[in-house]
Structures are given as structure tokens and as C-alpha cells.
Symmetry: C2
Subunit: 358 residues, 2 copies
């Protein structure tokens, strides 16, 4: 006898999968009448909700695995909260695995998720990862897979990402409009697509505003507090003049900011600093750190909604994957407040895209 | 035929469980000779390492579930790193579940772990949790359970915690020695044992230094940035004089600090502020936030070591549980630097316990 699923109940009642799942999980958003109807139908169709038994039998579960590079980074923990919220409402539980940016650990994590027979995997790819065989294995098993923030383009997998080009452009344009002219960009090795895009945004903003692209001002390396400090030290040691730093992410920006303050450089008067990712500490430090917000909760919710669509889909991976790209927002704080913003907003056209001054 | 286990190989070779597990997982710390010997013995005894197959058959896996209140709090993510390190070295994978301080979510998480047939669970209890039935269920199934930081005393379960009494004492004693006299303590409801202990440390430090315990200076409530701000507002609105704040944890301390700065109060000259947990942002803010360090990585490692002992134990839960209590450390930063510490260290006896000035 074929096992009765939530889909069968949904079809029978002509209501959505999500409503049935939430009704069976006694979700407060579902009316008592609907809950009663769903429970009655479930009983009539002989639906069994015993999760342990059903997951052991079918090899599926109501558990979703989320793979993140690191939960120390508030960007990731914030996206995870967004995903959790929606998935919990729909009757799914979330298990997390940290790759710690290691390819080996990422492979191990996928194995662990598969052994735990998760119903699907939502992943952001580790810094080290160069191949995609371990992710392709998930697809081969017909288990839903979705990427967020860091995707492997080579795989035909749905994804939710940020427009990193636009983020890089916004950060650089903001510095230019604040009057900074010699803008340093700290970036990482070029294996991760998102950092390449941020760099492209930086270069194109300079060009658009007729500023020269000076190779001495583009520093390649890693991302960390220490690396940010080191970059500022090297700029001074090599006598390279600069009046602003746009770092690929906030911890690196914070390192640069700390080193500038140690050198008694006035921020933002002499040098402006902007990061990327709007980490939670940015609002707590002095001066407040300007950054690019990646709409983490919105990203988490969008990822969860798209993933629920996959879980319900009959022809998983048969169509071209849906790829959602979200727009980043500028968060201007004291670390780039060289000009009086009230004057400044009159000086520039209103239609400037995505600008948000707080 | 009885399934051959890692224990059988360990017994056969008279080496430790951990060495066998690491050898089978090709850990770099194990010599090639040992690896070869272990592999040969495993083959001879017909040991099968296929994890999926073996976990499906036995109902056990090499996966450990860690339940944390919130991974947004760097204390928890840091302890998790410590546990991960040791467990990975011993051939285990870690899956994480966030309770988000909710009792219902915690129950759901335990169910999810059990459905995923984890080999054991390491947990820190949610703020909301008042009963222990869901944890007792883990014990009934003879699955290893260990508490870290927040334990349920009623259960006979091994635990690794911090001496919170001593932490509260150290924080308060530090403020007194810096010359502060009217010290506010912000604490939470009294259901969580660790906060009760911190309060007890505060009260006893005041008594020991012959300072009055003023009930107006003990503020009960929640813990959050907003609550810290609110406490400072209320102290001023009610005209209660104070010259220092010891908050139960760092986010609350940070809220108090921000509100003081908004009021143009000089920190540390007029009012000193100290938190608890040594969150990573404390070193980044200005003035740097003094705090009590809970030796997170050490706690994680101690928890993992004790847990490995449980995993290997034959008579799980038959003996009285081992309870490890770690000593906290004072981290003195600018937010309490009222006195010149160089003069200060001559003023007080050297043998002061646990003091560490940076």
C-alpha cells in the first residue's frame, strides 16, 4: 500500500501543502476549523504522522540541513534565523553544520546530513571548495539542494544571492560622494565569485566618476581583522597615499579602522572606512562602521520560500533552476561621515539607486 | 553474529578507543604504523566502517547533536568550536540545533536529534525551560547526554559549567578595587541557576568589602541591549545615585554603556561598566568593555573529553555523574579603568584570586 503523504491530504482538501503541514503541527496561524478538517482527513486516509517511524521507513524526514561556512559570522547566523522561522512554521526542523571554510569538513557535513536522512539541504559554499562533486551527489540522490549567498555556478541548482557587484558599486560611490578620492579596496583571492563582483563594482564606480583605477590601491589577500590591520600598516610603510578604505567584509574593515586609530589618524575626517555585510558589531563600535547590508533576514526568508517550492515540486531539477538575486543597501555610519549629509543630499540627484542614509 | 565495534578493535590491540577511531579516520596525529595495524585488525575482525549502513542497522551513528540556546551569542559558538575540534579528531561529526531560548523549540530539537539517530547529545538549556521530561527521555533511551554552561541540576547528568558565583564575585571585587562604591547589578529572573550564582557573588563581594547591599541597586528583568539601556534610564529617572554597573552578560552591559554615553556620562571616570561572558565585540568597542571570561574553548574541550568518556562507558548513567566546574577569569578593559593599574597593583596583595589585568 502506498504511504499517504501530506500532499495527498492537500490534494483531497484542495488546500496548500503548507497549510496541511502547519495544521498537523498545530501552528497558531491556522484556524481551529481547518485543523479539525485536516486531522479528520488525515485519519480517514490513514495518514501516520509518527515522524521517527515514517522517516525510518521512507528514508525521508521533516528535517532540513543547513550548511554554513561559520556561525561566528553574524551574516550567516542571521540568514539562518530567517530560514528557520519559515521552515518551522511549515513543520520542518533545522539542523546546522559548520564547514569552518574547509572543503574536507564540508564533504563530511554533507555525508552527515545524508546519513541523517534530511529532507533537503540548504548550503553556502566554503572558501576552500574548488570542486562540486559532493554537492552533485545530493542532486543525484534527488534530494532538494539550494545555495544561498555563495553558490557554485556550475551546478544547475536554485540559489538566493545578493547582487555583490551593486554592493561594491554602492560602497565605492558612497565614498566618492563623501569627497574621498584615493580609495583603497581590500579584496580576497579570486576564487570566490562574490569578492570578484565586489571588486568589479569598485572599479566601475571609480570609472563612472572619472577617478583613476590605481593598482597600488587594490590589496589582495585574505579576510580577517589582522589582515585589515596589516593592509593599513603596509600602505603607510610603502608611502602610498590614500584617503579611504573599502574592505571586502566588516572584520577586515574593522582591522583597518583599528590600525588607523592606533596611528592617530582621524576617521572619518582624514580617512573614511566602509565594510561589507553589516555585521552586528558595526553599530556598537566608535566611530560606527559604515557597511553594505545584505538583507539577511529577507535572504533567509526568500531561501526558505524557494526551498519549500522545491520540496513540493514533482519535477525537481528538471527545469532550469530559479535564481533570486537580492539588492544590497548602503548603511552609512560615522566612519564615512566626512560631509554633512543634509547638504550632501541636495547636491546629488534623488534617484540615486539603493542609497539609504541613517 | 554480533557486530564488531571500534571497542573490540581497541581491546584486541590494547590501545584506546580514541586512537582506533582516529586511525580509521586517517587522522594526521596517528602514526602510519598504528594506522596500518588498526586497519589490518579491523579487516581481520571483519569490522565494517560503512557509516550509513552501520547507522541504519544499529540505530547509532557517528554524529553528535549539540543543542544551544542561540548561536548569535559568541559564547556558545565559541564553546561549539571547542567541542567540534575534539569530536572531529575522534571521528565524530557535529550537528547543531538552536532552541532560540524556547522550550517548545528545545523539545522539537531533541526529537529531531533522536530521529536523526545521533550517537549522543550535548546541550545547554533554554531560558524558558522549567521541566526536564524531554531531557530525561534521552537518558531513558540510554543515549549519552551532557550539559554545558546551563545544566538541569535535577537530572543525574554529567556537566561542564563555569563557577558563576566566583565570576560574579570577581566582577564586583574588581569594581570595588577600582574605587567604585555604588555598584548596580542587572540580573534576570531567578529561574536560571547561573544568574542566581552571579548575583550571590555580587552580594558576597559587597559584604566582604564592607559595602552596603542596597536593594535599589539590584535590577531584575531580562538580558538584552535594550534592557541595559532601560535600566540606566530608570536609574536616572528615579534619581538613584550609582557609580558602576555590573550586568549579568555583555549585551546588557553594552546597552547600559551606550545609554551612559548618550547621556554624556564619562565612562570609566564617572561610571564603570563590566559585563559577563567576554563576547567578541567587547574588545572592538570604545571604551573596551571589561568582562568575565568563561574560557569557552577550554569548556568546549572539557565537555568533549568528558563526553567521549561517556560514549565509551559500559555503565552509562549507573555511577554518579561527573560534574566539572571551570574557573572564570577577569578581563579588565577601559570601561572600568578608573585607576592607574600600575599603582593599583602595589596597593593590593598579590595573592588576589583569579585576577588578570590586560
Amino acid at each position: 500500500m502506498k504511504k499517504v503523504t501530506i500532499q495527498d491530504i492537500a490534494k483531497e482538501l484542495n488546500i496548500s501543502f503548507s497549510t496541511v503541514a502547519r495544521a498537523l503541527n498545530d501552528h497558531p496561524a491556522i484556524s481551529e476549523a481547518t485543523k479539525k478538517l485536516v486531522r479528520k482527513t488525515a485519519q480517514r486516509l490513514n495518514y501516520r504522522q509518527n515522524k521517527l517511524a515514517s522517516s525510518l521507513r521512507s528514508g525521508h524526514s521533516n528535517t532540513i540541513g543547513i550548511m554554513v561556512p561559520s556561525l561566528d559570522v553574524s551574516f550567516f547566523s542571521s540568514v539562518v534565523h530567517g530560514i528557520e522561522k519559515i521552515m518551522n512554521e511549515n513543520g520542518y526542523s533545522i539542523l546546522l553544520y559548520q564547514s569552518n571554510e574547509s572543503y574536507e569538513s564540508e564533504k563530511k557535513g554533507i555525508e552527515t546530513f545524508l546519513n541523517s536522512r534530511v529532507a533537503g539541504i540548504i548550503a553556502s559554499v566554503a572558501k576552500e571548495t574548488q570542486t562540486h562533486e559532493h554537492f552533485a551527489e545530493i542532486q543525484r540522490r534527488r534530494i532538494p539542494l539550494l545555495f544561498f549567498d555563495r553558490a557554485l555556478e556550475a551546478l544547475q541548482v536554485p540559489s538566493v544571492t545578493i547582487d555583490d557587484y551593486k554592493g561594491g558599486f554602492l560602497a565605492t560611490e558612497h565614498l566618492i560622494r563623501q569627497g574621498y578620492k584615493r580609495i583603497v579596496h581590500i579584496t580576497a583571492g579570486q576564487t570566490i565569485g562574490i569578492f570578484k563582483e565586489r571588486l568589479r563594482g569598485y572599479v566601475n564606480a571609480l570609472k563612472l566618476y572619472d577617478l583613476p583605477v590605481d593598482k597600488n590601491l587594490i590589496l589582495y589577500g585574505d579576510f580577517s581583522l589582522d589582515f585589515g590591520r596589516q593592509c593599513v600598516k603596509e600602505l603607510y610603510q610603502n608611502n602610498i597615499p590614500f584617503d579611504a578604505v573599502f574592505a571586502l567584509e566588516d572584520f577586515t574593515a574593522m582591522g583597518a579602522l583599528q590600525q588607523l586609530l592606533d596611528y592617530k589618524v582621524h576617521v572619518p575626517e582624514e580617512v573614511g572606512v566602509i565594510g561589507f555585510a553589516n555585521e552586528s558589531f558595526g553599530a556598537l563600535v566608535t566611530p560606527g562602521l559604515s557597511s553594505i547590508d545584505q538583507q539577511t533576514v529577507h535572504m533567509g526568508e526568500a531561501a526558505a520560500e524557494l526551498f519549500l517550492k522545491m520540496l513540493r515540486s514533482e519535477d525537481l531539477y528538471n527545469n532550469l533552476p530559479e535564481r533570486i538575486v537580492l539588492a544590497p543597501h548602503l548603511i552609512a555610519r560615522a566612519s564615512t561621515a566626512r560631509r554633512d549629509n543634509s547638504k550632501f543630499s541636495r547636491q546629488y540627484p534623488q534617484e540615486s539607486e539603493g542609497e539609504q542614509l541613517i
